[in-house]
């Protein structure tokens, strides 16, 4: 068993990118590996509340994030500065996240066997 940190840096609805990354995350979790997610830069928008993707014929990726719990993916981290720079607070996100300061991100990454850029 390995531990995986998926580092998501692109905003929601970046083409099929978010949806296809979530497919990898779900598959890895289905293989009974330890899976955590880090939202960095514009990645913090992926969990922003109040998205209405159906209006633009896009996939509701937030619903997939909400289903991650079923696969024992419970640890979602967000960088404090990424949130602040975009005027967001953890309360603006639709799932609870653990906040990490930028200075601590490298230390967080070191705790994982695989750091997966997405």
């Amino acid at each position: 068993m390995k531990s995986y940190l998926f580092v998501l840096r692109k905003p929601a609805h970046s083409g099929a990118l978010v949806q296809e990354m979530l497919d990898i995350i779900l598959t890895t979790a289905a293989f009974d590996q330890k899976v955590c997610i880090l939202l960095l830069d514009d990645g913090v928008f992926q969990l922003k509340t109040g998205q209405n993707p159906e209006c633009a014929s896009m996939k509701d990726t937030v619903a997939i994030f909400k289903a991650l719990e079923i696969y024992d993916v419970n640890d979602i981290y967000a960088e404090v500065e990424s949130l602040q720079e975009r005027g967001l607070k953890p309360g603006d996100l639709c799932l609870p996240v653990q906040e990490f300061y930028r200075k601590d991100i490298a230390g967080l990454m070191k705790r994982f066997d695989v750091v997966f850029a997405g």
């Binding site: 390995k2 995986y4 296809e20 497919d23 990898i24 890895t28 293989f31 850029a117 997405g118």
Partner: protein, 129 residues
């Protein structure tokens, strides 16, 4: 050391695929192993057999086919990413009632389980693009 790679960008969107290709050649040249290369997102565009660039430009699919033949590198294209983008091997096309045969030689189409297996097997996993 045993490497696994993932390529996420198309040949004309980014140089990442070409960087990966050069990385693989350098690694093999130094005696390392490449367990698998997984083509995902727009990376699946590397595997289109009928891409026909001008003669003075690199032929990416042909480069990969030669690499697979020379060094038995396992080149895997994600089935769902491929189908979304219209890349079908003949078997899959038949199943869908279509007549395509788009997959270049040396590639095979499979699922995301192959990617997870590669990250588990390899000492190092690197994402390009």
């Amino acid at each position: 050391m045993k490497f696994a790679l993932q390529i996420n960008t198309s040949p004309y969107q980014s140089n990442a695929g070409q960087t990966a290709y050069r990385f693989i050649n350098a690694a093999l040249g130094l005696g390392h192993k490449v367990f698998r290369v997984f083509f995902y997102h727009d990376g699946v565009y590397h595997a289109f057999k009928y891409a026909t660039p001008p003669d003075d430009e690199p032929w990416f699919a042909v480069q990969w086919s030669q690499l697979a033949k020379l060094h038995q590198v396992d080149l895997v294209v994600c089935i769902s990413a491929a189908q979304r983008r219209g890349l079908l091997c003949s078997d899959e096309a038949k199943r869908q009632g279509k007549q395509d045969d788009d997959l270049a030689e040396g590639f095979r189409i499979s699922g995301l389980g192959q990617l997870v297996e590669a990250t588990l097997e390899a000492d190092r996993f690197i994402v390009f693009g």
